[in-house]
Symmetry: C2
């Protein structure tokens, strides 16, 4: 009757919380996208696993809710944080059909936080988080949000900066930001945080526009106060005029 919606963080188990590990240990069944299940399968031998490929989110959530309604303790796992582009919202929407299930969301380290930690402190002042994927949000809405964020001088974390169907997404997003932000605005990219091949790159917004990106990349763009300090991206908060 219990369904945990568990954030796995960026990928390395060291970035999971004690509570997330405890929920998985207590669960009889662990459900998730196959790429995430593969990250944790070895650590939890003897558990039952159920995974589906990408884009079968509704089926995956229904399976988790059905099994929990049937009496099992279930964890639905998400990379990063389940509340940020994760499954927490869909679980709550579908849960109306499974009234006895008690749902508990266990937060995880989202890519904005894990990527920022690698790059320095790019989000240390007010920031906006925007997904550049137009699978679930119309592209016009994404453009409007990019323009609004630039109008507010927000720092930015951009999720899903490239897709197979739309290879020029990041370029287009940078062009919109460049309507407001100067070309030398500091920006950064992280790849494979917490996994093999972890890397980060600090560059300018103008250089970012020319960069190829894949789905494991998270992109950061500074605001008018962001600077590079010893190769790191830092947005000051006013404690010191450095």
């Amino acid at each position: 009757m219990k369904l945990y919606v568990v954030g796995l963080g960026p990928g390395d188990q060291g970035d999971m919380t004690v509570r997330a590990l405890g929920a998985l240990a207590q669960s009889e069944l662990i459900v998730g996208y196959e790429g995430y299940i593969n990250l944790i399968r070895e650590r939890f031998p003897g558990k039952e696993f159920f995974s589906t490929p990408m884009r079968q989110e509704v089926e995956r959530c229904r399976k988790a809710l059905e099994e929990a309604a049937g009496g099992k303790t279930v964890s639905m796992v998400c990379s990063g944080d389940p509340g940020i582009y994760g499954m927490a919202g869909l679980i709550y929407q579908l849960a109306m059909d499974y009234p006895p299930v008690a749902i508990q969301v266990i937060p995880g380290i989202t890519a904005a936080c894990s990527g920022a930690a690698l790059l320095g402190a790019p989000l240390a002042n007010d920031f906006a988080v925007i997904s550049l994927s137009d699978q679930l949000t119309p592209w016009e809405t994404i453009e409007r949000r990019l323009r609004s964020a630039a109008a507010g001088d927000f720092c930015l974390a951009l999720y899903n900066p490239a897709s197979h169907s739309r290879p020029d997404t990041l370029r287009r997003a940078c062009e919109i930001l460049l309507e407001t932000y100067p070309p030398n605005t500091p920006a950064g990219v992280v790849q494979n945080v917490g996994r093999d091949g972890e890397s980060y790159l600090v560059l300018s917004l103008e250089q970012l526009r020319e960069l190829p990106a894949d789905m494991l990349t998270t992109v950061f763009v500074g605001n008018s106060t962001t600077r590079t300090v010893a190769g790191r991206l830092v947005t000051p908060r006013g404690y010191r005029q450095a």
Copy 2:
């Protein structure tokens, strides 16, 4: 020569990551605001602690850097995530004066994530994070960011919604959002996440305007798609028109 900048998450040790706990265990000296040091002192007997009251951020960071430069393994602790209104940026700015120190930021669960998990899934689509404290950011900038975020139909997480010097901060912020968002826009408030007295409240933006707030509160405001589902705040992502 090693300085960890460690996110403690919302307060309960269950919300700390494995890596954060490991960094504290390895450290000889743990530095931080006294309120945060008190959260972890008992768990790490035998460690040296150094704490300062609020607003002595520069002194605190210099102490951590000095001791690390002197050869100690040091952790500077922050509540939530050190990169989000935490000490990571200031540490990098000051670190230029202490070149031998190797800095590693260990991310933590920020209030946007821990509060959202309690409320439902209010940030499951694009969102902005704004601090309402005018200690380090001019109030005009905060107003501009609130208006820009509303123009972009962002969901919002608002940090530091009240201060002693400015008791009407949250009311004023709500009035600005109400220029764009309808009065019945779903909103939510969390208090003392991960601590004694943890609570959450789902209400309308209009009701939020009338609410007293204190510094341990984080405030959430939905966008045009956010709704309440079985008493929780949910921003759908388009998987399903529920």
